[in-house]
């Protein structure tokens, strides 16, 4: 009888604690409004990384990169990255872009150990499958060689040179007006004086450059 009573009390305590936890969570969600503006706390970040690691098949983690890191593979991956990844991750991998800094969680600085110490298989898995409840899309479905090339490029990020970044900037996604301005910049540097295009009308843009007489 005493054992039964103790069991009931234990169950009630667990239910109470769970209820209190749920209530606290609900209140926290209500108070934050699920805003993406504050930085994730260290506990949340650690927990999220643990869950991501737990969710990955160990066989995937142990996969090695079957694509050799030739200059051509790296050049193609750099162009691919500039077009598909840099909007959030930045050309240099720092994540310091308007989008990357506003995602929740923030786009990581991929030059740092937290990313560089992931295995090739882990990087490939993340590129191919994305990560739920983050801004990372799953890019799988195409030829896997492209993602393996990106793994090589991510490894190269800590040693990325300024000339490489300049090349990448020419490949970043742009609006038609920005493409026109890029062409005008090139013409100007080559000695031509391009006819200034009509301003886009977006005052924050800072474009519609003045040219020398």
């Amino acid at each position: 009888m005493t054992a039964r009573r103790a069991c009931c009390a234990g169950t009630a305590l667990i239910v109470l604690l769970l209820g209190a936890g749920l209530l606290a969570g609900a209140l926290a969600v209500r108070r934050s409004g699920l805003s993406a503006r504050p930085d994730p706390g260290p506990t949340e970040a650690r927990l999220a990384r643990m869950v991501r690691g737990f969710a990955m098949d160990p066989e995937e983690r142990l996969r090695s990169n079957p694509v050799p890191p030739t200059p051509r593979v790296l050049a193609e991956a750099r162009a691919h990255y500039a077009d598909h990844c840099a909007s959030c991750h930045a050309n240099d991998g720092s994540g310091a872009t308007a989008l990357g800094r506003r995602l929740y969680p923030r786009a990581p600085d991929m030059r740092l150990p937290a990313t560089q110490e992931l295995s090739d298989g882990e990087l490939f898995f993340i590129i191919e499958n994305g990560v739920r409840l983050t801004g990372m899309p799953g890019w799988g479905g195409g030829p896997p060689e492209a993602s393996w090339g990106l793994v090589h490029f991510i490894r190269h990020l800590p040693r990325l040179g300024p000339e490489e970044i300049l090349e990448m900037e020419k490949l970043n996604p742009r609006s038609p007006a920005e493409w026109r301005e890029l062409q005008e910049d090139e013409q100007f540097l080559q000695g031509d004086d391009p006819t200034p295009a009509p301003r886009s009308g977006h005052e924050h843009h800072g474009k519609g450059k003045e040219v020398s007489p």
Binding site: T97, A98, L166, P173, D185, G206, K209, S212
Partner: protein, 108 residues
């Protein structure tokens, strides 16, 4: 499914363009007047002067090669991508054309 992905991608790109547009860009092109004391001065159209601070984070290129502020000689054509930070204009990237080759007298 494919159209949904396409719509998402377009929305992402449009979003990024709008977001970048709000980063406080202050770009200009012109001819270098001086690049001294961490300050770049450029003459733009109709003689208007533009100034931008050259910081340790400013990336400078001459003819596509990484360069230093000292390489920005007066007379060079430059395209400057800059941003406004606390009321000050900071150069993010300065791209300069290759210096014009010295003119040779033709003797004609």
């Amino acid at each position: 499914m494919r159209s949904a992905a396409l719509v998402s991608a377009v929305a992402l790109l449009l979003g990024s363009a709008i977001a970048v547009a709000h980063e406080g860009g202050a770009d200009f092109r012109g001819v270098v007047m001086s690049a001294e004391g961490g300050q770049l001065t450029v003459r733009g159209v109709q003689g208007k002067e533009h100034r931008a601070a050259l910081t340790h984070a400013t990336r400078i290129f001459v003819a596509g090669q990484a360069a230093r502020a000292a390489d920005l000689k007066p007379g060079l054509r430059v395209v400057v991508h800059a941003r406004k930070v606390g009321g000050q204009v900071e150069a993010v990237t300065v791209q300069a054309a290759a210096p014009a080759p010295a003119r040779r007298e033709s003797g004609k």
